[in-house]
Amino acid sequence: MQQIINFIIRNKNFLLFLLLFGISILFTVQSHSYHKSKFINSANLLTGGVYNSINNISGYFNLKSQNQLLVEENTRLRSLLRNSIIKLGSTFIDSLSFDETYKFYNANIIKNSYSLTNNFLTINKGKNDSIKQDFGVISSKGIIGIIDKTSANYGTVLSILNTTSRISAQLKKTNHFGTLTWNGKSPQLIQLIDIPKVAKFKVGDTIITSGRSSIFPKKIDIGTVESFKLDDAENYYQIEVKLFNDMTNIEHVYIIENIEVKEITNLEKSQNE
């Protein structure tokens, strides 16, 4: 017993180092698996509050470009509105209105990040605004990510620029679908993998969300094909996708809630049993 205590006292520095290092590695490993970062995230009161107050100031610096983006979107929506009025009365299905299935909220990005390999954004909406985990986040130009953690007033977003993010996407022309991943290199390019070899497409084709998951509705723009090659087994294409979004300059985003997600998951669960 005496020897054990002596050993602990002699090596207290090393043991403390091991303990704290172990804790840090544990947090790191947890943060690498999806949805598991338990409490190390910037959605808490202190860090969220600091980012929010700084964003109040720095928000003025890019007012002009953000206004430009909003004006562009307004123009697009206005033209859509006009078009749908004209076509009213005929048997016309508006593919851009998502009926009552999807609910939209708006939010501001208060912390952006794109230089790490696992990027998270922080937004200024949280549980009090009925934002929950697994809601989709888009901007006026394309998708941004998925809500990861929420506190009372803030939320973190798992960005598409995150090597753990997996989002279902497809080609706009055909219905061949694959998975969006990111290799951690350029914030402008993400990778679409598992597109079958039979699919026909060319550089410049548009990639959209597939609507196969319950998070994003179908037909939200993602980007265009920059280049492509067959993977090692030569069965699937690997496509470099150039994002419509400039992920380094985003401020206003929309959060999508799928109201029927519970029904869908219940149905899928009952089928598995």
Partner: protein, 168 residues
């Protein structure tokens, strides 16, 4: 004692705030950021207890992690350099360290540069290998370590020169 204590408290918080609000948004060439908060660990008084330094390094790292949503990578890297600091001290200051009389304001520039370089490279290597967490991307780790280290060392030396008081 009291003034030393308060200087280090201020330095702790000032470096955290600077790091989080300014130096993480530089993104030079897309991904190069300096991590200047390690100055706190580098300039911590030599005579003090090692246990205190290791604990403080952990808290410094975990606060940075909270702000950056990075899990525990900064905490791990900080604890690591907090632990290996005596090795770095011995490596770069030699006999002065043996006599426990290192004062960072009065040592010569070359030794100080050596010391900061050693700590920075250790920290960045640990940080980026944990961030990327993938042996097949070892080139990316080394590349990020190299570029960020250059940036960090330059800034640390600059800050050090600006804020150091003349040793009498």
């Amino acid at each position: 004692m009291n003034s030393i204590f308060s200087i280090h408290t201020w330095r702790f918080f000032a470096l955290v705030i600077l790091q989080v609000l300014i130096f993480n948004h530089i993104n030079f060439l897309g991904y190069i950021n300096p991590y200047i908060y390690i100055l706190f660990i580098a300039l911590f008084p030599v005579k003090n207890n090692r246990i205190i330094l290791i604990l403080l390094s952990f808290f410094l790292g975990i606060i940075i992690d909270f702000f950056l949503d990075t899990g525990g990578i900064h905490a791990a890297a900080c604890v690591f350099i907090g632990y290996v600091r005596p090795v770095a001290l011995k490596f770069s200051f030699g006999t002065i360290y043996e006599h426990q009389t290192v004062k960072f304001n009065s040592v010569d520039f070359g030794a100080k540069l050596n010391y900061l370089t050693f700590l920075t490279i250790m920290h960045h290597l640990m940080l980026f290998s944990l961030e990327i967490f993938n042996f097949s991307k070892i080139i990316l780790v080394l590349q990020k370590t190299l570029f960020s280290s250059i940036f960090t060392i330059l800034l640390c030396i600059t800050i050090n020169i600006i804020f150091s008081r003349k040793a009498k």
